[in-house]
């Protein structure tokens, strides 16, 4: 029997019993929709995580000063550790294999003022190779240069949030901002960055848009510390050539620092990439759970289809007998009923895809949760709905085909 006849028949079968067909497809609809929605939520989370870690640098190891109370700080100093220093950074660069470059930064919390406006900010003194190591893009001007660094110039680069607060619609470039009684010339403004709404390892959550960057040399010269016991710098970022060797390298760094700090662990070593991998592993578990839910859902949908088809076949015993009497072969009857089952599951699949896409958009529209729909998820979900139709339509179709024409034609 020709394919188009089958398709016509199948669609008519569906339309003739709209309500019943709809109820039958509910399982498929929800199965497909939930797969697409959950996959898109998962994908959104994955992309957000990657973006987050990319900001920190995929090949980076971050050595961060531990936040200690004054008393703890006294004890550590008494045990001869001076905390993180620029020397630590240069030793690491020299000795540790695979290190491409290191960047050091010192920080204080302060205020920045421009004319009548002021805003709280973290002032960060950095070495110029910072920009190569981290994903900081400027919206205006340039980042701190080697020239600025070498000449201890009083220049600064503003975070997007600071620029917006202090300058509103004015152009900040070339203007002077007052930080800690120092007038600093604005040479650049950064693009807005994603907020760190959670801690990454031991890196505290922060809004990077409220940072102001100045050359480290200028920082050390011009800004005084609140606490005389503070270490020279607060963070060293180490860029490694091969992400496979991050853990090894970090162990070496730790050994060096332990020596320099006289076995005082007044620092933390954070490997963003490893943390990302960890999160990825957890997401695998989530994905598998999701897969199980979807599979069960589609299974239930399939059973629904099989149930309805079995009843349908019984209802149409006479019709099957007539078709067989006028020349339908078993295979003709099989394909007729499998087509009907597939028609139901495909229609359910299409509705499910539509629903899934809508839900994904709704979720990202109304909540903070990001979603991202990938084509493969739609193809897979839809493909499964087709398979379910074929798989669960098979048994009823086989039953129909095996009915004896002699008996079924007399069925009441």
């Amino acid at each position: 029997m020709q394919y188009e006849e089958n398709i016509r028949l199948a669609l008519h079968g569906l339309i003739d019993h709209k309500f019943r067909s709809f109820l039958t497809m509910l399982g498929i609809i929800f199965g497909v929709a939930s797969v697409i929605t959950m996959l898109s939520i998962g994908e959104g989370a994955k992309r957000a995580a990657i973006a987050k870690y990319q900001d920190l640098g995929v090949n980076n190891i971050i050595i961060r000063e531990k936040k200690l109370s004054d008393q703890e700080l006294e004890e550590v100093r008494a045990k001869f550790s001076q905390g993180l220093s620029i020397q630590d950074a240069s030793v690491i660069k020299e000795i540790v294999p695979g290190v491409i470059r290191t960047a050091s930064q010192a920080e204080i919390s302060s205020e920045a003022k421009f004319s009548d406006k002021s805003t709280k900010s973290t002032i960060i003194g950095i070495t110029p190779n910072y920009v190569e190591m981290l994903n900081y893009k400027t919206a205006k001007g340039n980042f701190i240069t080697t020239d600025h660094y070498k000449r201890n110039l009083k220049v600064c680069v503003l975070g997007a949030g600071v620029a917006a607060t202090l300058f509103r619609n004015e152009d900040p470039m070339g203007k002077f901002v007052k930080i800690e009684d120092q007038w600093m010339e604005v040479v650049g403004v950064l693009k807005s960055k994603n907020l760190f709404t959670e801690t990454v390892g031991e890196l505290a959550a922060r809004d990077l848009n409220t940072d102001i960057y100045v050359p480290l040399t200028t920082f050390l010269k011009r800004f005084t510390r609140e606490n005389l016991l503070s270490s020279e710098i607060q963070q060293i970022t180490v860029q490694v050539d091969n992400s496979d060797r991050l853990v090894e390298t970090s162990q070496l760094i730790n050994a060096i620092l332990q020596r320099h700090h006289f076995n005082n662990s007044d620092y933390n070593i954070v490997i963003p990439f490893e943390l990302l991998r960890q999160e990825e592993k957890e997401r695998q578990i989530y994905n598998m759970l999701l897969g199980a839910i979807a599979a069960i859902s589609l299974l239930v949908g399939g059973i629904g289809i099989m149930n309805i088809m079995l009843a349908t076949v019984m209802e149409r015993t006479r019709e099957i007998g007539i078709r067989r009497a006028i020349g339908a072969r078993k295979s003709d009857i099989m394909s007729q009923f499998v087509s009907e089952a597939v028609a139901i599951s495909i229609t359910g699949g299409l509705i499910g895809v539509f629903l899934g896409i809508s839900l994904s958009f709704t979720v990202s529209w109304f909540t903070d949760v990001e979603t991202f729909i990938r084509l493969y998820s739609i193809v897979i979900a839809f493909g499964f709905s087709v398979l379910v139709g074929i798989g669960f339509g098979y048994l009823p179709a086989k039953n129909a085909a095996n009915l004896k024409p002699v008996d079924s034609i007399r069925y009441e």
Partner: protein, 247 residues
């Protein structure tokens, strides 16, 4: 010779007992014959019809249709046989209720794999032959009994079958409509069709040229009728005792 049945038996298995439905059937049918198979209920006439119509296969013996040994055919081959050679006409019409008249008549051709434009043409021709040119797009629920039977006859004709096999064709019709249908069968016979009527009514059987009586699973008699007019109020069979029984 169109049909030859040799030493045919058919047994049904009910539990662990074998129930004989047909025994020692020997029968020959030529092209363009018009014959009736008569018998009381339980006589085996339905079983014989099923076998003639390739809906069932004999337990022993041979059924040759146009020299083809039907008894050795598999399920698919039987289906093809039914599609091409057997035109069924049933007492309760057996049209598909969700299809209209035209679609019902086209159905056998769909299973034969015939293209849609040719199907349409042939279906229209068959419907015209049975006197139905209107109401083609109506479903059977929208038609009278007589019209439905005509559609069924058109469906039976459409593959130009070897035999038309009619099981109590007027059983569900009033006497006037029944007569119209029997008149149609007469015309179809004149067209060259081979017609086999299954009936328990003598009046209907009288329209045929030959009557086979079946009783208790065996052929009781096989007689040529010599009539050529229908006597509606006259129930006396006017057969001449010309027996066709093998000796």
């Amino acid at each position: 010779m169109l049909i030859e049945i040799k030493d045919l038996t058919k047994n049904y298995v009910m539990g662990d007992v074998e129930v004989p439905a047909l025994m020692d059937i020997n029968l020959q049918i030529q092209k363009n014959e018009y014959l009736a198979i008569m018998g009381p209920s339980g006589s085996g006439k339905s079983t014989l019809m099923n076998i003639l119509g390739c809906l069932d296969t004999p337990t022993t013996g041979q059924y040759l249709f146009n020299k083809t040994d039907v008894s050795s055919l598999n399920d698919d081959q039987l289906s093809i046989m039914r599609n091409k050679e057997i035109g069924f006409i049933f007492q309760n019409f057996n049209l598909l209720p969700r299809l209209n008249a035209l679609q019902n008549v086209e159905l056998p051709m769909i299973y034969a794999g015939i293209k849609s434009d040719i199907r349409r043409e042939r279906a229209l021709m068959a419907l015209d032959r049975v006197g139905l040119s209107e109401r083609l797009l109506h479903k059977s629920s929208e038609m009278s009994g007589g019209q439905r039977q005509r559609v069924a006859i058109a469906r039976a004709l459409v593959s130009k079958p070897g035999i038309l096999l009619a099981d109590e064709p007027t059983g569900a019709l009033d006497s006037k409509t029944g007569e119209e249908i029997m008149l149609l069968f007469k015309e179809l016979h004149a067209d060259g069709n081979t017609i086999i009527l299954i009936t328990h009514e003598q009046e209907i059987a009288n329209h045929a040229n030959r009557t086979i009586f079946i009783k208790d699973g065996r052929i009781h008699s096989d007689l040529q009728n010599s009539i050529k007019e229908l006597h509606m109020n006259d129930h006396i069979p006017t057969n001449i005792q010309h027996t066709n029984l093998p000796l």
